[in-house]
């Protein structure tokens, strides 16, 4: 049974057709690389899966059941976590508060429940350490470097035990050391039966961790094949259009 099936997903923003008839299937424990030129529609596809946009037409099925996500929390409740390309953090909150935003840890005092800051900061610190990131949970995100923000966004996905993790360019702003950590994390996710979609412009990363690669060009899927059966040269050709389809 497939974990996620996208069936002829189309999305237009007014006159712009960001996606036309894209179908994609993801199996449990599988990592799929999603590649394509700037503006190809990768983030749009991620946001449709994550409940930010409704598709203009087409169907999304999770474990064979059709779903309609009206807002991000619907997708999260269905077991989908996402790292947004623009990271989507609240600058005015601390790193720890951002990690737990929307699912704060609480302690009950009789009828009222209060935030459990110590527990949240402790857990956030553990998650940052796991990513080998020098991110201090109590710092405001506004004061943070790009890589530290990235760690916060990735740490957010570690709070639940999702079926599917979408990562939209998670390694765009981070150091070599942390790229290795993120790739290691993706491998661990796979081993534990989680599926991952990795959007990246970094060919070596995709070939390192992904089982399959799908290529979008101008809103259409032009290739979808096992990593073993393709090469960076072919994928590059597909992205830029030198190779029509594969």
């Amino acid at each position: 049974m497939s974990l996620l099936e996208l069936d002829n997903i189309t999305k237009s923003f007014g006159a712009i057709h960001a996606l036309s008839k894209v179908s994609l299937t993801i199996q449990p424990g599988e990592a799929v690389g999603l590649m394509g030129d700037n503006g190809a529609g990768k983030s749009t596809l991620m946001k449709i899966i994550a409940g930010n946009f409704m598709p203009s037409s087409g169907e999304i099925r999770i474990e064979n059941k059709p779903v309609a996500f009206h807002k991000p929390i619907d997708a999260r409740n269905a077991g989908i976590e996402i790292v947004y390309q623009d990271l989507a953090l609240c600058d005015n909150l601390t790193a720890g508060a951002n990690v737990f935003l929307g699912r704060e840890l609480k302690r009950k005092f009789g009828p009222i429940s209060m935030l459990d800051y110590p527990a949240m900061y402790k857990r956030a610190g553990e998650l940052f350490a796991e990513l080998k990131s020098e991110t201090r949970p109590r710092d405001l995100v506004r004061q943070m470097s790009g890589g530290q923000r990235q760690a916060v966004a990735i740490a957010r996905t570690r709070l639940s035990d999702p079926k599917l993790v979408l990562m939209d360019e998670p390694t765009a702003a981070i150091s070599v050391r942390q790229v290795a950590e993120v790739l290691a994390l993706i491998k661990r996710l796979k081993e534990t039966g989680h599926a991952v979609v990795l959007v990246s412009h970094r060919m070596p990363d995709v070939f390192d961790v992904c089982d399959r690669v799908a290529v979008l060009r101008r809103g259409t899927k032009v290739a979808d094949k096992p990593i073993k059966e393709t090469s960076p040269e072919e994928v590059t050709g597909l992205i830029i259009g030198a190779i029509e389809a594969a």
Binding site: R76, A88, E104, M114, E126, A129, L140
Partner: protein, 374 residues
């Protein structure tokens, strides 16, 4: 996880050690605290003998400050959530008028009139918020419209119904009502009688009230102010909802992506602001025994000024209820203190402007230290 045991808190040599004292000092309320100390020092030095600091004088500026505090708490939470409400002053006039119309004109029991007014005004607050969310227009514009709409009704309704702009006689109909004293009553009367008997506070020297203390209790207005401040402070700093208020005002889109019901948070804050305005109105109506079409004029600005003096950021996402309460205290003490000190009342505005400017400059400096923005 194989490498999860990595220690988290390895000391970073780039972080300057900030002393606990400095950390405790640098907080959003600092500007308000400094301002409060400055204002009290000023008046203790220059108006100590004016009667400002005897029991009656203290009660005088406390009541005025409490009025500011009640509306400042609502304005503060709403501003942190990233929105404004310019209709607060008109809402005060409108709420008072509705109580008078319900109870005096239509003869409904006062408790019912109060409850109906609360429901009506909170619903209007919700409507304000709903329009802001639905249209995506700035709340500045939407609530400006309601400033005029509500004020218009407040002048129009009593004229068509009673042919006047002030409706009195509320004290008579409120006699014996169970809910009215919750807004118009006083508490701790015994304590003040005891203080008077013990010679600790002044008592009337002649007349029918001879021997009774000149201050005979704490008005419910002050109790409401304290309750709302504690409620607002706990809500903002200790609860999930408070975290969502900050998130909604900081980056609404990011908050939505994280599953924060931003629309609901904002609409609820509009409703809470309306609730605070109505509390103000009911207390005022019970105190004066009447409702007037011009009540509450400019209160929206006074609330916003108190909040800004208290360190909140006009653009949302940053602020403190305790700071706003101190801002309201500064506002009240300055307004009444200048009166006690015999300063020409028109100069109040000059003082207010200077304090506002000074507070905002100080607050900006403090905020930069806290948030590291430039």
């Amino acid at each position: 996880m194989s490498n999860a045991a990595q220690p988290t808190a390895k000391p970073d040599e780039r972080i300057k050690e900030i002393s606990a004292f400095r950390k405790a000092l640098i907080r959003p309320e600092l500007g308000g605290i400094v301002g409060t100390v400055a204002v009290f020092t000023f008046f203790l030095l220059f108006a100590f003998d004016s009667g400002m600091f005897n029991s009656q004088g203290i009660m005088n500026w406390s009541v005025v400050s409490a009025q500011f505090m009640i509306i400042a708490v609502g304005a503060c939470l709403l501003m942190i959530a990233g929105e404004f409400d310019l209709s607060v002053g008109s809402m005060i006039g409108f709420a008072g008028m509705m109580i008078a119309i319900f109870s005096v004109t239509y003869g409904l029991p006062v408790w019912l009139a109060i409850i109906m007014t609360f429901v009506l005004c909170v619903a209007i607050g919700g409507l304000n918020g709903w329009i802001v969310i639905r249209t995506g227009l700035p709340s500045f514009i939407v609530t400006l419209a309601f400033l005029f709409i509500l004020r218009g009704f407040t002048i129009f309704l009593p004229q068509v119904i009673e042919r006047k702009t002030i409706i009195g006689g509320i004290n008579d109909v409120a006699e014996g009502d169970w809910l009215a004293p919750v807004f118009g009553g006083k508490i701790l009367g015994n304590v003040f009688t005891w203080l008077g008997d013990a010679g600790l506070i002044a008592t009337f020297e002649r007349g029918t009230k001879q021997g009774q203390p000149v201050v005979d209790g704490i008005p419910m207005l002050i109790v409401w102010a304290i309750i709302l401040i504690i409620f607002g402070h706990v809500l903002l700093t200790k609860t999930k909802f408070g975290n969502w208020i900050f998130a909604a005002g900081g980056d609404a889109e990011a908050a939505r992506n994280s599953g924060v019901p931003v629309n609901r948070v904002k609409i609820l804050m509009f409703m809470f602001t309306a609730f605070c305005a109505t509390v103000f109105a009911v207390c005022q109506v019970m105190e004066f025994g009447s409702a007037g079409a011009d009540r509450g004029l400019l209160k929206e600005f006074e609330a916003i000024i108190a909040v800004v003096i208290g360190g909140a950021l006009l653009t949302g996402g940053y602020g403190s209820v305790l700071g706003a309460a101190l801002g309201a205290l500064i506002f009240g003490v300055v307004q009444q203190g200048l009166f006690f000190a015999g300063v020409e009342s028109s100069l109040f505005r000059v003082f207010l402007g200077v304090i506002l400017l000074g507070a905002v400059i100080l607050n900006t400096y403090i905020r930069r230290i806290i948030t590291g923005e430039r």
